[in-house]
Amino acid sequence: MPAIVLVGIFFVVPQILNFRFAFSNWTTFSPEIRWNGLDNFVSLIDQGFLLRGIGVTLTYAVIAMAVQNVVSLSLAYSLKDSTRINGFFRSLFFVPVLLSPLAAGYIWRGVLAPNGPLNDFIGIFVPGFNWAWLGELSTALASVAFIDAWKWIGLSTLVYIAGINAVPRELIEASIIDGTSAWQRFWKVTFPMLAPAFTFNLVVTLVGAFSAYDVIAATTGGGPGDSTRSLNILLRMQWGQGNFGTGSALGFTITVLVILVAIPLVWVLRRREAKL
């Protein structure tokens, strides 16, 4: 009950109170705030912002979610045993989680610069290699999504490690006696038992990436062109131009997007857990 009250006071009520601004003509130009129906959404669609922003945000979220979960699951499996060396690497991979997203963005902006260390390294094998990872339309979005994934991999790794270590030892031993290979043991025994961890990580990474802003702001600022303009980047652009109503409409869109994706996703994954 206290949790519901807290969520209600600090999340639900402010959200509901703010929704009305998405349907208002609120700008810096006038002190009057009036209801304007769907004008803000029509304006955003006319300018090509809304659908493009949703597309960029979804693509970013899917890439970040996929990279983060594949890598963290692999890391978790490698680091599942509680040894001193594994403890060191678990801590090492957790360091980016503690970094400010802006700091992470600035670090990677340097690493991925045309004259940065990544290109220098590739240049050892491909002499003269020069690629603006964050400056080319084809790689900018994937690059910033990768940075977001890198930043949060440590957290999802810990969740997967906890899940793997919660698998009953007898099950593993029984499967060994049955003559399964390590690969079979992972897919047939461990992975199904990881369903709750999988649900948590999938939903948190996907929904978290819908709020993509800080890493993008620190690396590309939404460019090149409009290739990394997520909904939150667009929101800031509208806000900066004093168009608070259209900015609020973009915020409202993000909320709706999260609800539309998170609720069915959680429902499907929970059903999957029950089946497994």
């Binding site: 003509n25 609120w26 700008t27 810096t28 130009f29 006038s30 002190p31 304006s43 006319d46 300018q47 610069a113 045309p114 603006a132 964050l134 400056g135 080319e136 339309l137 600022g221 939404g222 460019g223 090149p224 062109g225 409009d226 290739s227 303009r229 800031r236 652009m237 806000w239 900066g240 131009q241 004093g242 168009n243 608070f244």
Partner: protein, 431 residues
Amino acid sequence: MKHGKIVGVSLVAIVAAGSLASCSTDGGSSSGGIELTVWHNTADTDAVLSIYEDYEKATGNTINLVDITSDGFEEATLTKWATGDRPDILEYHGFTAGIDQLGGGQNFISLEGMPFIEASGGLYDVAGRGSDGNVYAAITSFPEVWGLFYNKQVLADNGLEPATTQAELVEQCKVLSAAGIPTIAESGGSSWPPQAIPLMESASLAPAGWSQDVLDKKTTIDADDSPMLAGIQAFEDLLDDGCMNEDITTTTFEAAVSKVYTGEAAYQPLHSNIINVYVDAAGGDNELLGQTVGFSALGADEPTVAVNPGPIGTFLVPKTGDSAKEEAAKEFIEFVTGEHYATYVKDSGTFPVIEGVDDPTDVSPLLLEVKAAYDSGKQVGFINGNVPGGMQGQAALLSELIAGQKSAKDVASALQSQLATAAKAQGLSGW
């Protein structure tokens, strides 16, 4: 009856004269003890910060400084403003669209009639006014002067004089490209600098009253004869001709400064307020910088200096409803533009914009070149500053042009659409 009227008018005149006298004799009618809240940019120089301290000493009033972080300064100000919060003095931009964005005459006290306006030459012909024509911003700092920073050795080695027009830039591009040197170090990685060429060239081309014609719907930003479209087209032409650095999408303006300073590129189109970055590139050696880098004006067809008052040292007086504080805030404006101005110019080391104060003597050679361009070229204001919204979406649109997603015409059309949105929001008739 008639006699009574005369007496009444005389009494009003006496009271008014008395009020004015008390204002002018001691430099401020507020007798001290008033606290003024100032929203100020965290990038304020020491000279600007000294203004606040000196005002407190001179008047007995106190100043409560509220920091507005310089990174995202406009957004932060707009956000605070949107909540209904108001300072007694606002340090902000002094161009028309910026003033109008905060409500113009609805929210600011007019400074019309104050002596500094008359004493600032033609500065208030291009800045400081809202769209209703009244002056709302007191500009104390030497404005941003937009032009081309250039590497002297690169030009000399290739037998070139500093370019001052688009045609000269295009011609020099052929020579410099043959020598393997990018003509322009452009910095899309910092988002805003690519606006420089479109803004400078459009300002030089715009006929008088063009912005009003746009507002009156006699023309549009994307019309074939639009100066804004011509400026954007000039940028696109230089880009398409290979006159800009290949790493334009990731280069920051600081990196572009380095390219020009070291001779990796010939020109950087930007404003004079980034001189300190050049000074840093030269290791703080102003003499060496003066020998290495120069500054010239740029226009579409003739050398033109586009000037733009920056927010640092530009003050506006919001309406707060507290007459004592509003009066004290106006006295602050009188103080900074009057008795304290010589001290400010001396402290800041920049040139005065208000007459009656001598130029500082210890000025870097590069800044002297900026001043020479300011004094000698035709002075114009940016045309974006006079239309609703200030074309603030331009940087993002130019990023799309650089990425090949939009043409110059597309960018101009999008700007027209954004202007329409802002004009409608402002409640302008016909929009």
